[in-house]
Symmetry: C2
Subunit: 211 residues, 2 copies
DNA sequence: AATTCCATCTATTGAGCTATAGAAAAATCG
DNA sequence: CGATTTTTCTATAGCTCAATAGATGGAATT
């Protein structure tokens, strides 16, 4: 047998033609029933193939979860980091952060939902990795808020950590209601940003009158 | 056979001596691993009894979930309704609502967590019932906010629905971080209330600044 | 046309889990 | 103590599910 041919020509599971569809089906099913509540049969049903055929695309159900979670956070972190680094006021950057944080909910809601609710069921190693990533994102929000406090844009007595948790909680909850509610996400993002900004603003604050 | 004796002397599962402990163990395990991720064996392990013995206390795993969820919401709704009916400003009532909403997290965090994350796995009937309850609670928040807008306490352009979702999202997320974060819930409740109130409040108009 | 590769299928194994039945042990009560 | 009731145990049935092995058919390649 030709070992070289095998290793050079055989593609990884993630590069197989229907791989994106398979992962999307997994995302849908995991989002709907939760990781443990979902069966590989459920995923196969969505795709119209047999349960065993899935294992051509991933080596275990847990691997499938990992792929879904990874796609759920893809770009997230880098986008946030870029926004935080801009030469703008903390207020503006936080507004952008909130809008950016909500945007993936528009085009891949299932992936986000799975990432938020099911990542706890990942195997140790990848859970740690994703946890680290997650904390990094929180950090970005918190740092911008802290900076905003220092610069006098936000209340001096504000607890940056709690404000971060509040904002992220508010945003992440959107993945739970965005299906049923009629409101579109973009509008929600704008309203949420305004809520947060004025919520953290200095008490006898004056609206920022530009120009 | 003596039917009367059976029905009069035999207690319901919920009245058996250790029933509260059994439900608490279930709450702990469900909170930690999720309903489908948890096994009845896990629950038995916590209690130091055999798996089959659990069925003396509940007739199915789903029933156990239902009991946990019910205890998770116990009192919630009535407390909120009472607060909403008080003869106080919308601002004050909303502050109280937020504090009241977070308080169960102090004494029965696992139950709340299970209610929030696992109620979707309840059987149709009880899921509906709890869903109705949940919508009722949202309604209370939303009504107070709407009233606050009408009375001029909050911004006229505020979307009451979105504000409700934001506040509840912010509060409910606390069940996810309260374990790891050092902050105590009472403090968080105060800060959250302030964030929400000033976030929805009318901003002073420009001329007032000069006085 | 023959060969190789890709995608899916059939068939099955083996593990783990819920739930039941009935015995045993422990507690309670007359 | 003896009887009754409550609680827990042993044993196991029956099912579902993830995962593997190997076959099949079609597409691409030479």
């Amino acid at each position: 047998m030709n070992v070289v041919a095998l290793t050079t020509t055989r593609r990884k599971a993630s590069q197989r033609r229907r791989a994106p569809q398979i992962i999307e089906a997994a995302a849908r099913v995991f989002a709907e029933r939760g990781f443990h509540g979902a069966t590989t049969q459920d995923i196969a049903n969505v795709l119209g193939i047999k349960q065993a055929s899935l294992y051509y695309y991933f080596s275990s159900k847990e691997t499938a979860l990992e792929l879904v979670c990874l796609k759920g956070v893809e770009g997230f972190f880098d986008a946030a980091k870029a926004i935080a680094a801009r030469p703008e006021s903390a207020t503006n950057r936080l507004t952008l952060l909130i809008k950016s944080h909500l945007s993936p909910l528009v085009d891949r809601p299932d992936f986000v939902r799975v990432f938020l609710n099911e990542r706890q069921h990942l195997p140790r190693e990848s859970r740690r990795r994703i946890g680290r990533w997650s904390r990094g994102l929180e950090r970005i929000f918190e740092d911008v808020i802290t900076e905003g406090i220092k610069k006098g844009e936000f209340r001096a007595d504000l607890d940056a950590r709690l404000a971060t948790l509040a904002i992220l909680g508010m945003c992440n909850a959107a993945s739970n209601w965005h299906r049923k509610e009629s409101t579109d996400i973009t509008r929600a993002a704008a309203e949420f940003a305004q809520l947060a900004i004025s919520g953290m603003g200095k008490r006898p604050t004056v609206p920022r009158r530009r120009r």
